[in-house]
Amino acid sequence: MSRFLSFLSSIRWQDIVDILINSYILLRIYVLFQGTNAFRVLVGITSLWLAQEVAASIGLILTSWAIRGITAVAAVIIIVVFRNEIRSALQARNIKTFLWGFPNRERQTPVDLIADSVFQMARKRLGALIVFPGNQDLGEVTHGGIPWNGQVSNEMLMSVFWKNGPVHDGAAIIDGERITEVGVLLPLSHRQDLPSDYGTRHRAAAGLAEESDALVVVVSEERGAVSVAKGRSLTQMADSAMLSWALKKHLNMPDISPARRRERERLKLATAGCVSFLVMAGIWFSFTRSQDTITALNVPIEYVNRPANYDILDTSVDEARLQLVGSSALIKSLAPGQVGVRVDLSKAAEGRNSFPITQADIILPPGVSLNRIQPATIDVTLDLPATRDVAVQVDWVGRLPENTALSQVSVSPETVKVIGGSKTLEKTATVYTSPVRLDSLPKSGSTTAQIVLSPPSLKLAPSCPDRVIVQYRLEEKKPSEKK
């Protein structure tokens, strides 16, 4: 019990927000893609991924590799094959619809009115072709439509398909309670098994139904029969009730009262929301709470809040070695910028300061915890910046020619202004040049040499040259002076 309570107390508010955001994303994917073939394939791919994880965890190497390959290929294939469905699902009228709209609620098609109108047209021998889109975008399979955007009514339908009307030969598309397009040309079916008395109107209805998830109602001008094309089936409707039932089924409008339907929708959404939350919580905990992997990282130490007057003269270490624990997924995905050691120098004083590295100094991504750190303490030496005139000395190296003495040397300038920490400058009486070889001095003269500052924290004042002129005099050793 105490373990459970300590586990609960370790959950941060950020973790709850994290789970909620991802649960909502999952719910939105469900809402946008539900009922589509792409959604079913997505579920299949998710199952494949889970199977691959299980296979990997129990050590089925070949199976795990095979499923991983299939999953990768399948993911590409569904994007290509179901591109229209994906586009339809993601094509929202506005950002609000995309983020929190529910497409099914918007569809308020007056099904009974349409069914009655269709049979009225059948009785009057008015040929008609009415398309009820599913989730798939029809833009790729239809063409030639005229935007209409009129409210569905008996009179409107009659006038569209009236024999002498200019658009009566094409199809009308009904989306929700509006006729969005008229005079639309549909693809013709090439099936050989259609009855011979079916004309072009029926072939067009069958063609569109085969190539999309739309439902097409066709009214025969010659026979006055009403048929419905959906998928590969073409069914004749006995009466308006049957047509109404078929339309409601296609439009996901169960034959119940609107209040009951809304209640059922809410229940469905609540269930989907709960499932999304549970799935995401499970994924989140398996990703972040598992402590099965330990890794060690060398992380540069960042010193912050340095007192304005001081310079950092020296530090005992430049990087710390952190031993981190977490789930293998989190440990594998660690990026260099996610882990850091930040030492606060706001309370540091002049001279040497020792800081123990605590948990508060370590920056870690959520779900990863610190097991050990080396070193446990960092020494930082702070110093006041100062300027000092320091003598320049030539660093002679090599060997002078035989019987030759370097009798005199002068350096110009003799001193340079050096900027650095005051403690460092106290110990710096001389700066040296880069090595000047004696072997290459043929006779008395002058040369130039670069000033080399040590330690590197020292800098030359801006007005000082970084090279000096060295004048020297070579003399032959007198015989009497020889050893």
Partner: protein, 142 residues
């Protein structure tokens, strides 16, 4: 009484016999104590023979085996202690305490050279109050 006389003689002779690395040049004790101690000559040399520096310069090969810092003071108003502080790359390597006697005095300190001594050196000549008379810079090379 005889022992007291010997003790006084020994005390008088002390400065001439305790510093094997130094040599002195004595003159009659006629300097005025009000005068200031003046460094007359300071140079680096390979060796000192008869209080004379030999092979002076600013670069000495490590093969020469030793290097000397020769200093000569004139006048020396009173008995004084000076130091030769030998630094290799700003690190104090050795310090030699030397005595000066009126009225003028020459003295030197010497270090034995090893392979690890190569590099730039300097010798500070200072009195016991830290007053710097001169800084000599030289290098030990191949």
């Amino acid at each position: 009484m005889r022992f007291f006389t010997i003790f006084l003689l020994a005390l008088f002779c002390f400065p001439w016999c305790v510093c094997p690395a130094t040599a002195q040049e004595q003159a009659p004790s006629t300097a005025d104590p009000a005068q200031k101690l003046v460094l007359k000559e300071a140079l680096m040399s390979e060796r000192v023979e008869n209080l004379t520096p030999v092979n002076s310069g600013v670069v000495f090969p490590v093969s020469s085996g030793q290097v000397c810092c020769f200093t000569s003071f004139d006048p020396v108003p009173q008995h004084t202690i000076i130091y030769h502080r030998w630094f290799r790359r700003d690190e104090l390597s050795t310090q030699t305490r030397l005595r000066l006697y009126p009225s003028k005095w020459a003295t030197y300190s010497v270090i034995q050279l090893r392979e690890t001594d190569k590099g730039p050196w300097r010798v500070e000549i200072i009195d016991q109050n830290g007053r710097v008379f001169d800084v000599l810079r030289f290098s030990i090379t191949d």
